[in-house]
Symmetry: C2
Subunit: 259 residues, 2 copies
């Protein structure tokens, strides 16, 4: 288990397109990695459909259980983009014109896109937010995300989500970074190392020791990854795993196997 003093995060991916298989998720890995780096480890992900009751109930459940909730998806201009109004409903606050978001978008459509596109009612919905929302900048396509309480509402398009997270991250108070130390052993099956590995895990209770078999065209093996907020402990645990692999006849290599 990561250090229990670290704040925790939950990611809500809102969108039928992931649940239907149309779209390959590209946001979990990015956010999981970045949140680990700033010491707010991701402890749960949910993918839910564009259904108002589901979004409202889920937001309320997870914002009570985790220190931070990040949502992606459902903040565009179309009828299936209902995340923003659902977050307002979850918090029990009005959903209303956000003066600064409105001004940014009106200026963008008047000046930058004048003649090509207009700030029509569909786009005005993207400047309509729960009362009290603090904007999250969007360097890619103007329409901002927002933070309300401990809920951070971002776009689902990966390029836009990443821009929003870059703008949001400096405002988040994290804990110690979660570090990762790995070793792998080509040809060594996971089932041989299991018993010795459990004994090492038992001595390093503050770390997560993960065991991941890999299957590559140039050979199979097992990778062991120690994760936690204590770099010295992670290094020491992986040194013990390395010695275990050698005792079992393996030839361990530091780090993850090449992809």
């Amino acid at each position: 288990m990561p250090d229990p003093t670290n704040p925790t995060a939950c990611l809500l991916i809102i969108g039928n397109e992931v649940l239907s298989g149309r779209t390959q998720d590209a946001n979990i890995k990015f956010l999981a990695t970045r949140l680990g780096e700033i010491g707010i480890p991701l402890r749960e992900v949910r993918v839910i459909p564009d259904v108002a009751e589901t979004i409202i109930a889920t937001v309320n459940e997870v914002r009570a259980r985790f220190d931070h909730v990040f949502t992606t998806g459902g903040i565009g201009p179309t009828h299936d983009d209902i995340t923003s109004e659902c977050v307002a409903a979850a918090f029990g606050v009005p959903w209303e014109r956000h003066p600064e978001a409105w001004e940014r978008m009106a200026r963008y459509y008047a000046e930058t896109r004048g003649g090509i596109a207009e700030f029509n009612p569909a786009r005005q919905r993207m400047a309509t937010m729960p009362r009290g929302a603090a904007l999250i900048d969007n360097e890619i396509s103007i329409a901002p995300g927002f933070t309300l309480g401990n809920v951070h509402v971002m776009a689902g398009v990966p390029r836009i989500m990443r821009s929003m997270f870059d703008s949001l991250a400096p405002r988040l108070a994290g804990g110690p970074p979660i570090v990762s130390v790995a070793v792998h052993a080509p040809g060594l099956p996971e089932g041989r190392i299991a018993e010795g590995l459990a004994a090492i895990q038992a001595r390093y209770a503050a770390l997560d020791l993960g065991s991941y078999p890999y299957y590559r065209s140039n050979g199979n093996g097992v990778a062991i990854v120690a994760k936690g907020s204590d770099p010295a402990a992670a290094t020491a645990a992986i040194a013990e795993v390395t010695a275990l692999m050698t005792r079992l006849g393996g030839t361990p290599i530091q780090g993850e196997p090449p992809t």
Copy 2:
């Protein structure tokens, strides 16, 4: 919304490696697609850590809410593989040697792998299952998954998971397949089509009409996808969307945009 007569599915991805960003999920899209084809649409995904209380509570919550629960991950031989015993705890049944799984694995290690690997206690855990488990074959690496009640327990390694799902799928009683019809319009921004699209969605309440902007090196645009269990309705709705795109000055192309 998909046809309410379709059985529903929830996917539980069990594993710290997805939550830490080490591993890119490769199972959601595969299972979402295959479950749609057999008419058991995926309605929720959760990614949860290798923590017993979390697994037990989540299994019990979602097996009551969905017709089918599919789990991936946590059925290997190492200390962090605790899915099987947690499913037993969730159902309140003993976790015990499964005679057929045990016999398959003992034979495999004695005959096929004789001299290279042994059926040691770590591997014996993979033949230990909740009482009443029905095996799911594993053509890749022998150790079976299992079904208990409406919970289907599979491996997390994508190649093994797919083999298990292929073996399981014929036993699942699905509903009408979820079909998908799409059209896209290069150069047409999502914000222009939003209003007309909402009106079409309102006339086809049994379909999900999704609007997905795309950003490609050779140009941007918007794709509209109709999903549901009535192919004629999906085709008719997309014909209306096509006419709407043309009225707005777009040049719609049937199908999804090239990747």
